[in-house]
């Protein structure tokens, strides 16, 4: 899915999401869920930038598809990397 919205709304969302990930982890620094959420927010923000700032849609083959694969690979790396850590 391409998140494509007005760039003013995108800016507000990106700022809120950034602040949200910061607060989430600061509130619960040793929580797997908070760390996973911080990464998920980061990936969501990247999707927002693709759609709303870079204007990259599914028609732009193969670049949108390649970047979606990149996002999926990075998501797996980050989630696996966190899941294997010892959590309190």
């Amino acid at each position: 899915m391409t998140l494509r919205i007005n760039e003013n709304v995108a800016l507000a969302l990106l700022a809120l999401l950034s602040l949200g990930s910061f607060v989430l982890v600061e509130e619960d620094i040793m929580s797997l869920a908070a760390s996973l959420a911080a990464f998920a927010i980061g990936l969501l923000k990247i999707n927002l930038v693709f759609g709303s700032f870079m204007h990259l849609g599914w028609r732009h083959r193969p670049w949108r598809q390649v970047l979606t694969v990149w996002l999926a690979v990075v998501a797996v790396i980050l989630a696996t990397g966190l899941a294997v850590l010892p959590w309190e």
Binding site: T2, R4, N6, E7, N8, A10, L11, L14, A15, S18, L19, S21, F22, V25, E26, I29, M30, S31, S35, L36, A38, F39, I41, G42, L43, K45, I46, V49, F50, S52, F53, M54, H55, L56, G57, W58, R59, H60, W63, V66, L67, W70, V73, V74, I77, L78, T80, G81, L82, V84, L85, P86, W87
Partner: protein, 211 residues
Amino acid sequence: MTDTVTAPRPGQEARDGTSGNTTGDHARLPGDEGVWFFIVADMCMFAVFFLLFMVGQAEDPDAYRESRAKLVPAIGLVNTLILITSGWFMARAVNAARAGEWHIARRRIIYALLVGSCFGVLKIYEYSTKIAAGITIQTSEFFTYYFAFTGIHFLHFLIGIGVLLVCLGKLRQAENPHRLKWIESAGNYWHMVDLLWMILFPMIYLAGGWK
């Protein structure tokens, strides 16, 4: 590079907050294809960096948590906000260029540069405080990756500043038929700097916990 875009009507941007190109799924790829290739290749390199960091953290989580505690996450957050604001100015500069409003595009690129420069200032401040506290690239594996990955990202940032400055020069060339492609490509590169930070910020400063 060719410049075959159909520009929306001038003034449309002022009415709806977008240029008209932002809401449709246009077939024309924004920017130069070669720049897209570079962006994808660069992002793949950073994916390897992310893998290296996560493997290192999995092998010695306590050392990473102790090292992470020496960072100031608020600086990472402010840098994130700086980059997304600068990216917003750049996205709006591209919209203005598509509408043929070159003077507005130029002004917005200057704003993107000014706001973006704050990232550099804050990064230099952060590096200098770490070094003053005796923390260097050799302090621990975490800080090796911290300095290496954020340093390479910083290098990309500096190149981006240079590209935006070149763009300002291109905008002055009214007879240059490729200037829209130039601005779109520069915008794409600038957004890449932004979105790589969107992973580096949680990976280095936030996720994984600290002690």
